[in-house]
């Protein structure tokens, strides 16, 4: 007798718990790179100040200037390569191409490959490279040059890619294949080994997380 009432009641409780969504955990990407802790004048808790990507001014395969402002309010992925690189670049670029193909027309994210051999990689060479990789729209994926070799290496370091001239390395430059994910404020939010399929998959998963965060920031601004 008791069972008759108990069972439906129990089933109902089970059903309702099944319907309530688990609490959403807010996935947030870390901010990478240098940071500075600055005490506040009013004696309140100190501020952590993160280093942003420094100002750069490049020229891409369309001959157009590319700077931090080009990506204002948007996310972008960077890597460092050179057109004649017989070492890791083709592998790295083929992996980045896979990521690109997941977001070919999403205006919230774009791609930036910077040459570390600007003496050879003229605008014409970069244009040929981009076309051969199948990238028709320079504003979606910039292949760009800083014009100066030493400054390119410096910018590479800021974007977590190490470069050293090395006569033993294929192509004369030893470098690693970091893909760096930069947010709308210029902070590096992820660094992935472009030669490691697992890490490239992580980049693919992280991009939507960052885009959602940026969308949230824009909505917040709109409300105010």
């Amino acid at each position: 007798m008791l069972n008759r009432f108990l069972l439906p009641a129990l089933a109902a409780t089970l059903l309702t718990t099944a319907c309530t969504e688990p609490p959403k955990t807010v996935a947030a990407l870390p901010i990478l790179g240098e940071r500075d802790v600055r005490p506040r004048a009013d004696g309140g808790p100190a501020d952590t100040v993160y280093a942003a990507v420094p100002a750069f001014r490049l020229t891409d395969q369309a001959g157009q200037p590319v700077s931090n402002q080009t990506f204002a309010g948007r996310a972008y992925v960077t890597d460092f390569f050179f057109a004649t690189c017989p070492g890791i670049c083709p592998k790295m670029q083929s992996e980045l191409l896979k990521v690109y193909k997941k977001f070919p027309t999403d205006p919230r994210i774009s791609f930036l490959s910077i040459t570390i051999d600007p003496d050879h990689d003229s605008t014409a060479v970069l244009r040929d490279y981009a076309q051969r990789l199948g990238i028709g729209d320079a504003s979606r994926w910039h292949f760009a040059s800083l014009g100066d070799r030493a400054k390119s290496f410096e910018l590479a370091n800021h974007l977590l890619t190490g470069v050293v001239p090395d006569s033993l390395a294929p192509g004369g430059l030893a470098h690693n294949g970091t893909l760096a994910l930069v947010d709308d404020r210029g902070y590096i939010r992820g660094a992935y080994d472009g030669l490691n399929a697992g890490q490239v998959a992580a980049l693919q998963r992280d991009i939507p997380v960052l885009l959602a965060e940026i969308d949230g920031r824009k909505k917040g601004v709109a409300k105010k």
Partner: protein
């Protein structure tokens, strides 16, 4: 009886390796004695039957996949792990007409590299192919045989003798 056998197992020491190779590629390591894991019981008879087999297998399989290993080490980063190439930047090796049309020149191409326009399956490529001067004729033979028997490629296997003769004619 069983105690007697166990004693024999415990006093058994693994056979000495047949030969110690100089380099990693030729190292011939005898397998570990199988009875070492704690808590694992082996039937001694089965163990003794398999030990020589394991030791032999360890020695014979070393160079079997040399071509595949060399490909992963020297070629795959540009030509792709399936020989697919990279768009119009790096020519494919899978189903490539260049491999059959220029078969006799391939040992020299791998050895010296090249820096000229190359037409593969109707598409022109002009990227640099680096040289591989560190690879021996035997290694080049294994590498070419691997490439020429995978991803739809079906060429007659090369011999070291043929490859050596073609290398001798390299400019």
């Amino acid at each position: 009886m069983s105690e007697n056998v166990r004693q024999r197992v415990e006093s058994f020491s693994p056979p000495a390796p047949f030969s110690r190779g100089e380099g990693g590629a030729h190292s011939c390591q005898a397998p570990l004695s199988a009875g070492e894991g704690p808590g694992v019981r082996f039937r001694p008879a089965v163990l003794f039957a398999f030990l020589p087999l394991l030791a032999l297998a360890g020695c014979f399989s070393n160079n079997r996949h040399q071509g595949e290993k060399l490909y992963a080490q020297h070629c795959a980063s540009c030509h792709g792990d399936q020989g697919q190439g990279l768009e119009r930047l790096i020519p494919p090796l899978a189903g490539s007409d260049y491999l059959t049309d220029h078969r006799r020149e391939l040992p020299c191409l791998l050895h010296n590299g090249q820096n000229e326009v190359m037409v593969v399956n109707g598409v022109g490529y002009h990227n640099v192919m680096p040289s591989n001067k560190g690879l021996s004729p035997a290694q080049l033979t294994n590498l070419l045989n691997y490439i020429e028997s995978h991803w739809g490629n079906e060429a007659v296997p090369r011999t070291i003798h043929d490859v050596q003769a073609q290398l001798d004619k390299c400019r």
